[in-house]
């Protein structure tokens, strides 16, 4: 019963308007994000711990709280 009522959200006018006007901006944003993340990945290749396997294996914590 309630399931149908609860689906009302994704179709609010506010969101519908946003979806219609958003398309070109979204593509542009995605391109920008792609360029950003490419730079970031270059940087990560430089700073990521050298021996990942050993680094991950050695990270052992005692339980807390």
């Amino acid at each position: 019963m309630a399931e149908r009522e609860l689906k009302k959200r994704p179709t609010t006018s506010r969101e519908a308007t946003a979806a219609e006007t958003e398309a070109p901006a979204t593509t542009e944003r995605r391109d920008r994000l792609k360029a950003e993340i490419d730079d970031l990945l270059d940087e990560i290749d430089e700073v990521l711990e050298n021996n990942a396997e050993e680094f991950v294996r050695n990270y052992v914590q005692k339980g807390g709280e």
Binding site: R9, P10, A19, V56, N58, G64, E65
Partner: protein, 496 residues
């Protein structure tokens, strides 16, 4: 009318010693804290007089339950910002001072990170070349060991605890969609699925709905009843189910929305909509494993909702609550509005395009990074480079932190965060504690959440109780400190 949701965040940091020697994590944690406080004139210790973590909010102790123990022999310091910095088990732990609104809590949570970063730099100067202590703000080592990030909220003692259990649990289960810090894989198998990535670092570790434990059989609702305030009037709700967040928007929503939901529970505003879950423990795990936001959980009523839909239900009630009752309980009207507005836009984005939140939420930021890195190097999900990337997201070393490389949205600025490492919030009793330590630390024998103990050379020590979290603020005590040159004069003015 709900009382102001005074709040604070306690974080146990992961500590790793990169060394050929055999320094224990406890020794490393002690070194970190001692190195940090070494520059203070005199360390003020913590007073354990009123600690009783074994007390149960349900009014009894369950058979076989294990009350946590306090290790009084380990290093423990109170800072001039009113925070507590100490060794808990085998981790350095930082408890922010009491804050009166969620944004202040974000500032002090970030200040805690800065204190730990400075500690790491200070401690490493004592170590031989090639040895290094590294701190991580995360909650799991990926091997089944978890350490916590706990929130505390001031709640009216008159609210029946069972109502908190029923009405807060659906929120704690569903808030992972914005409050999760993200994690590669899983540490506890669930429903025969293979989990590549999940929203929460902690969801794997919760096995009970309600209980007193924090280290074994962890419960979604923790019943520790230790108000650190007038026990006739107040309860301190100890929320142990959250992740430690680095993203400020995530911390802001985690604390802000939870405070708002608690205010509604206190004013009995949620009674009209029964959101109780059929199986909260299963639900917290299934929600954590769904990055698509489509998994539905079953309510006790038989309805099936996604976590985002559950949050929308609470959001709609919160808007109504704000309009009808006001939002004073969040400590600051403007901050409360920002919580509501941000909650709305984040839920909208989670429904339409979760990836668009990569500069706001930890789990989205981390997932985007992992997916991109995986694609570039054509890696399997279980490749250790992805696990390393997950860990290094939380690394507090500025040169190594992956989080610090992301252009995450800020709600604070560097200057206020740096100031919060030494200055207390002005709107809670933390102000009195902090000012006392700034002005008269040599006369203070000990301090804790609800008192400061002075030694002014008399026969007996003088304890100043602070049983009201909203007294001892700048407004209350600034004139008291003005022109007050000695601790004896302060005590005389206090009439104690």
């Amino acid at each position: 009318m709900a009382i102001t949701k005074v709040c604070g965040i306690e974080t146990e940091y992961g500590v790793h010693v990169d060394t050929a020697g055999d320094m224990s994590p406890t020794t490393a944690s002690t070194l970190l804290i001692n190195a940090y406080v070494a520059r203070l004139d005199r360390r003020v210790g913590w007073d354990f007089e009123d600690e009783s973590p074994g007390r149960d909010a349900r009014g009894h102790a369950r058979e076989g339950s294990m009350p946590p123990e306090i290790e009084t022999h380990l290093v423990n310091a109170v800072l001039t910002n009113g925070a507590r910095y100490y060794v808990d088990h085998a981790h350095p732990e930082y408890s922010t001072p009491e804050c009166s609104n969620p944004l202040e809590a974000v500032v002090h949570d970030r200040a805690g990170e800065l204190v730990l970063t400075r500690s790491m730099e200070a401690a490493n100067r004592f170590l031989p070349p090639g040895e290094e202590i590294v701190i991580y703000k995360n909650n799991s080592d990926g091997k089944g060991n978890s350490y916590g990030c706990h929130e505390n909220y001031l709640v009216d003692r008159a609210v029946p605890f069972s109502r908190i259990v029923h009405e807060l649990t659906p929120h704690l289960v569903s808030r992972q969609v914005y409050a999760g810090a993200g994690k590669i894989g899983e540490e506890v198998p669930y429903a025969g699925q293979v989990t590549q990535f999940q929203l929460s670092q902690r969801a794997d570790f919760f096995e009970e709905e309600v209980g007193l434990e924090t280290t074994l059989k962890r419960p979604i609702i923790n019943t520790r009843d230790e108000p650190h305030a007038d026990p006739q009037k107040y309860r301190r709700l100890h929320v142990i189910v959250g992740d430690a967040n680095l993203a400020e928007v995530a911390t802001f929503l985690k604390v802000g929305v939870t405070a708002l939901v608690l205010a509604m529970i206190e004013d009995n505003f949620l009674a009209s909509r029964d959101l109780r879950l059929a199986a909260p423990v299963a639900a917290i795990r299934s929600v954590s494993r769904d990055t698509t936001m489509r998994t539905k959980v079953e309510l006790a009523s038989g309805d099936r909702l996604t976590a985002v839909e559950l949050q929308w239900e609470l959001y709609d009630l919160a808007r109504k609550y704000a309009a009808e009752r006001g939002v004073e309980a969040l400590g600051d009207e403007g901050v409360a509005r920002r919580v509501l507005d941000r909650w709305e836009t984040v839920l909208e984005a989670l429904e339409s395009d979760p990836r668009s939140l990569a500069n706001q939420l930890d789990w989205v930021a981390k997932l985007r990074l992992i997916e991109a890195y995986r694609e570039r190097h054509d890696l399997e999900w279980d490749d250790s480079r992805l696990a390393a990337l997950d860990l290094q997201y939380h690394d507090l070393r500025p040169a190594k932190s992956l989080f610090a490389r992301l252009a995450m949205e800020r709600l604070t600025d560097d200057e206020e965060v740096a100031r919060a490492t030494t200055e207390p919030p002005e709107t809670t009793r933390a102000y009195f504690r902090g000012r006392c330590l700034q002005r008269f630390s040599s006369a203070i024998v000990a301090a804790n959440w609800d008192s400061v103990v002075f030694d002014i050379g008399e026969e007996s020590l003088r304890r100043v109780p602070m049983m009201e979290p909203l007294k001892g603020t700048a407004l209350h005590v600034d004139t008291l400190f003005e022109g007050c040159d000695t601790p004896a004069e302060l005590l005389r003015r206090l009439g104690s």
